[in-house]
Symmetry: C2
Subunit: 209 residues, 2 copies
């Protein structure tokens, strides 16, 4: 499925981003069915007629966002340096890329999360269609060419990975709820982040690393 949508792309970039981010926000917050187009246009500061002329319907808007978000996700994995084999360095880089994307699209990943849980009849089929494309492949792609032998072998690797992942996600979530905007997120947060990485490295790597 390809969405062309020349009408929308003819707008200036700033307006496009405003609309996309408002839509991400509203759909992420309320899911497809409960999301209000009125709320989106209010937040994006455009008129109702405009929204429905860019995207012919609520469903059209949602499907457009679906395409859009997976283009963004794909870009993430293109930017990683796959020559670096250290797990923690790779993960750190992944975090930085995500962080940079969130500065431009603050709610992309929230939107992405809700997509996988979405069950509105009107869009469920389309989501299912697209699922194979990116969601699952994400982790596998991001962890290509990692040197797993650095990890301790007296404990289950997949469980250690889970703990690292949960720590990563929970820490990010905690920082976000503390800060109102990503703009203020500075080096002190990154330093704290590195301290967690250090703890996990000391705990899960063999002693000689």
């Amino acid at each position: 499925m390809i969405i062309i949508n020349t009408k929308f792309y003819r707008l200036d970039k700033e307006k496009q981003e405003r609309i996309i981010n408002s839509a991400f926000k509203e759909f992420a917050k309320n899911g497809y069915e409960m999301a209000s187009t009125n709320e989106i246009i209010k937040d994006a500061e455009i008129s109702k007629g405009s929204l429905f002329s860019y995207f012919t319907s609520k469903k059209g808007l949602y499907l457009f966002l679906l395409d859009y978000v997976f283009v963004i996700v794909d870009k993430i994995y293109e930017e990683l340096n796959y020559n670096e084999t250290d797990f923690f360095i790779r993960t750190r880089e992944l975090g930085l890329v995500k962080f940079r994307i969130m500065k431009k699209y603050p709610q992309v990943f929230d939107f992405l999360n809700t997509v996988s849980k979405e069950d509105a009849k009107e869009v469920k089929a389309e989501i299912e269609q697209i699922r194979n494309h990116a969601i699952k492949s994400g982790l596998e792609k991001g962890y290509q060419n990692i040197d797993w032998t650095k990890f301790r072998q007296d404990m289950d690797l997949s469980k250690m990975m889970k703990i690292i992942n949960w720590t990563f996600l929970s820490f990010s979530e905690e920082q976000r709820s503390k800060l109102s905007s990503y703009e203020n997120m500075g080096t002190e947060v990154l330093n704290e982040w590195d301290e967690y990485f250090d703890i996990l490295k000391r705990s899960f790597y063999k002693q000689d690393f």
Copy 2:
């Protein structure tokens, strides 16, 4: 603030629980404002008139639940054995108590989580009033008389605690989304749970424990 509500308590226990659980579910899912009383009565299988005769309004119902949930939380900490000083054993016991409560009130803790994020004008003041009572005191109470010296001292204790907590919460959440009901949650889940504890213990305790 004390809520008497003889009308509701005159009902048989089974019906009371049905109503409370339906209300927990709906408020947890949608927050105060978006929660639908129609949905609650449908799920609890009572009539609309009944609900509004037990609790005079939506707000009345919500405030009743607020009281109710904090009574439940208080009970948790009364049941713990504070002679046991090992952190992991204590945390495990805490998990089991919570688990038992969730069998009776599957969505209490979800409701509790939404309460702290709730910002509907109509109930915000009441939530603020009650906050000092329990939410914060929870962790402190639960971790009384723990032997913290067992932990490694070359890494930051509070950060290790955070990692343990995040693992605890994320694992629970993962199990829950896998299982539809708590009834089926059996020993194999507990075993997996203990494996995570084992990894964290080996990582964060001094070598001689």
